[in-house]
């Protein structure tokens, strides 16, 4: 974590973006996009998470490579758990 001091204006800007995205995700849920409802919801959630990680948690401004390695590793292993488990469940012949 660097000692980079971020301006209050930027923080408020990020906050505003997050609030708008929250309203958007709630609103889009009422539309019928078929299977894309889930996709859009997760994409918006990931954008929000990215904004929090990069700006509120200062990851955009850090010079520490290990921070990014740790985050990437955790996400990778989580996706492994979810993905390989799904590989079983989606290929079973009976429910």
């Amino acid at each position: 974590m660097s000692e980079h001091v971020i301006s209050s204006k930027l923080y408020v800007g990020i906050w505003a973006t997050l609030m708008v995205l929250t309203a958007a995700t709630a609103g889009v849920a009422f539309l019928d996009l078929g299977p894309f409802n889930t996709v859009v919801a997760l994409v918006i959630a990931t954008c929000k998470a990215l904004l929090v990680v990069l700006f509120f948690m200062h990851v955009k401004y850090t010079s520490e490579r290990m921070t990014k390695v740790v985050i990437a590793a955790a996400i990778f292993f989580l996706l492994l758990l979810l993905g390989l488990s799904l590989a079983d469940y989606t290929t079973r012949l009976v429910a």
């Binding site: 929000k48 490579r65 590793a73 996400i75 488990s85």
Partner: protein
């Protein structure tokens, strides 16, 4: 990996030039701060995997029982969920601003922001409590007179097996419950930070606890950012 800049240097000169917060097995304050920060990120990685187990369970059962999950999702209060999401985002703002206040040495601002963060946290828990009580009144708490009859009646278009609906609610309470527990712990941590800030312990040179406490709080916010669409927004389109 080039963290050669963070190795312990010859420490005999630096030993007497530090504040009381430097622990003696570290050579410099910088090294201690980098260790604490890396430590907190590693801890957050373990938390990602801890919640991950529950997310995996959610994923499998949503895949199997989509209709029941859709019905369950419709029965929880989207407005309370959305407001709570907003409350947490506001709390993340106050946390980020409080780190900034510590960095710039503004003690009074720091204290105000920490208090606001705590208020937002308590508000979140209060709203969650109201939600849970609603669920209890509607007999949607597994193990406490659970009944899915109202959902079957309200959503004839969905194929609903009452047993499978119970799985949704079990996960709802397990995941929001675990999240709420983390919020409670976060509030405890921030009460401690508030006390230390009030005592004047944090300066632009040393405010690591605020930084790493903030990381924890933001993480709990991010978990909720995912819980909101996954639990509340499964299927809200007009039937």
């Amino acid at each position: 990996m080039s963290d050669s800049d963070s190795m312990a240097g010859g420490s005999l000169v630096a030993e007497h030039e530090h504040g009381p917060e430097l622990r003696h097995h570290f050579a410099t304050v910088e090294q201690q701060r980098e260790a604490s920060t890396l430590g907190m990120w590693l801890f957050l990685a373990t938390e990602i995997m801890f919640f991950g187990g529950l997310f995996c369970t959610y994923l499998i059962y949503r895949y199997w029982y989509y209709d029941e999950f859709a019905a369950g999702s419709r029965s929880i209060n989207i407005w309370m969920g959305a407001i709570n999401t907003g409350v947490l985002i506001c709390s993340s703002l106050t946390v980020a601003l409080s780190v900034r206040a510590a960095q710039t040495g503004k003690r009074k601002t720091l204290i105000v922001l920490l208090i606001l963060t705590l208020l937002f946290g308590v508000a979140f828990l209060g709203i969650k409590g109201v939600e849970w009580y609603q669920k209890f009144e509607e007999h949607h708490v597994p193990g406490l007179n659970f009944s899915a009859a109202d959902l079957i009646r309200d959503y004839p278009q969905l194929h609903i097996d009452p047993h499978h609906v119970q799985l949704y609610f079990s996960l709802y309470f397990a995941m929001t419950g675990l999240h709420a527990l983390h919020m409670v712990i976060g509030i405890g941590v921030f009460l401690f930070l508030l006390y230390e800030s009030w005592k004047g312990r944090y300066t632009p040179a040393y405010h690591t606890p605020i930084e790493i406490g903030g990381l924890y709080w933001h993480f709990v916010d991010i978990v909720w950012i995912y819980l909101f669409p996954l639990l509340y927004l499964i299927d809200r389109k007009p039937l």
